[in-house]
Point group: C2
Chain length 211, copies 2
Amino acid sequence: MAQTGARPWARSDEKHRAILRAAREVFLSNGYLGTNMDLIASRSGVSKQTVYTHFGSKEALFVEIVGSMTGDAGDRVHHERPELGDDAELEAYLRAFAERQLRIVTEPELLQLRRLVIGEVGRFPELAKVLYERGPQRAIGELTAMFEVLDERGLLTGAEPAAAAEWFNWLVMAAPLNRAMMLGDAAVPGDDELRRHVADAVRIFLTAFGP
Amino acid sequence: MAQTGARPWARSDEKHRAILRAAREVFLSNGYLGTNMDLIASRSGVSKQTVYTHFGSKEALFVEIVGSMTGDAGDRVHHERPELGDDAELEAYLRAFAERQLRIVTEPELLQLRRLVIGEVGRFPELAKVLYERGPQRAIGELTAMFEVLDERGLLTGAEPAAAAEWFNWLVMAAPLNRAMMLGDAAVPGDDELRRHVADAVRIFLTAFGP
DNA sequence: ACGTCATCATACTGGACAGTCTAGTCTGAC
DNA sequence: GTCAGACTAGACTGTCCAGTATGATGACGT
């Protein structure tokens, strides 16, 4: 309201983001059908008409929200992966990767997004496909690339890099994620438990696939 | 309509089951909010009033459906577990257990139930808790009992039976289940792939925890 | 000064739907 | 034959809600 000055699009742009923010909250907590467009309008401090001029329909707004959240989360997990230095650091390297990924994926907002998208597979199969691609599939892809390097250095035995990547991914993610899906955000491991879980997962992985 | 003969409750009982059957279909394919009580009535060949005299409300009917499905599925997975004979059969024994469990859990109806319940965690947290207890938790409990026996025979090393049970469970279930949640029933592995997957999971498990 | 464009508040349309009510039918029991 | 209880078709109530329409305000560029 105050510094709307220089740029003519600024006003519109702010509203746009306010709508997205409000819509994200409301969709995440009420689901697709449970969401009321009037509520989104009032929460974003904008008239209903403005919501419709910006986004066209409830469905389009929903798709936009889910698409942008999945993309952002993927980027946060995967930006700037460090290189493995000394071979002896392999275990610590895998732990660091896993801890970071698990911490992001178990954020309440992302858990809720996952629940929402899974619940709407029937209505929006494309969204779930996109979430799978930008989530687990992308993670497994990154891991595959890492493991190809390890493979060349002789640090990986007994499986193709791609297969090893999938096992690693689910060893780390499966238990916390599946618990959280059903038992709610309170079931997400705290920091200590998370570290212990990841350490065990990495140990099991290396017993099966390590040098 | 024809052979309603001897038992006075038969008529009512048939309707009751017809309603449950129809409601299961409709809830599973449309979700809770997306479900229309008129449709359930007409699909079960019953008047709307009858639906309400039998079940009281939409919510009560939903809870009934989900509760009964989770119980039934759990019973089907766990009824009559065979004993392990010769120690040498350990690998085959674990494979058989895992294959059976995975086959049941990946049935389209149960996958859809899982999606539905996950999507409704916000509205019905109790249902999700029950599904977790009668699903993964129960499976892990059974495995724990099995592994305690193995432990006594010296066939299990390096972890508590309960921890080993959890790792085993998710090694087997995680990848297929998570793919199916998001990619739809078409992503469920066929028989060959399922067998290969289970064989690999058991091998990894035994490498880490076996004798 | 004037037009344009984003926005506003608010009313409205049209349809969906949970749950109730009515008035009457069918069936099996006594 | 009559009664009770299960059932039926369908109308009805009240509410909710996506999306549109209206008419006004205020800021900007020219």
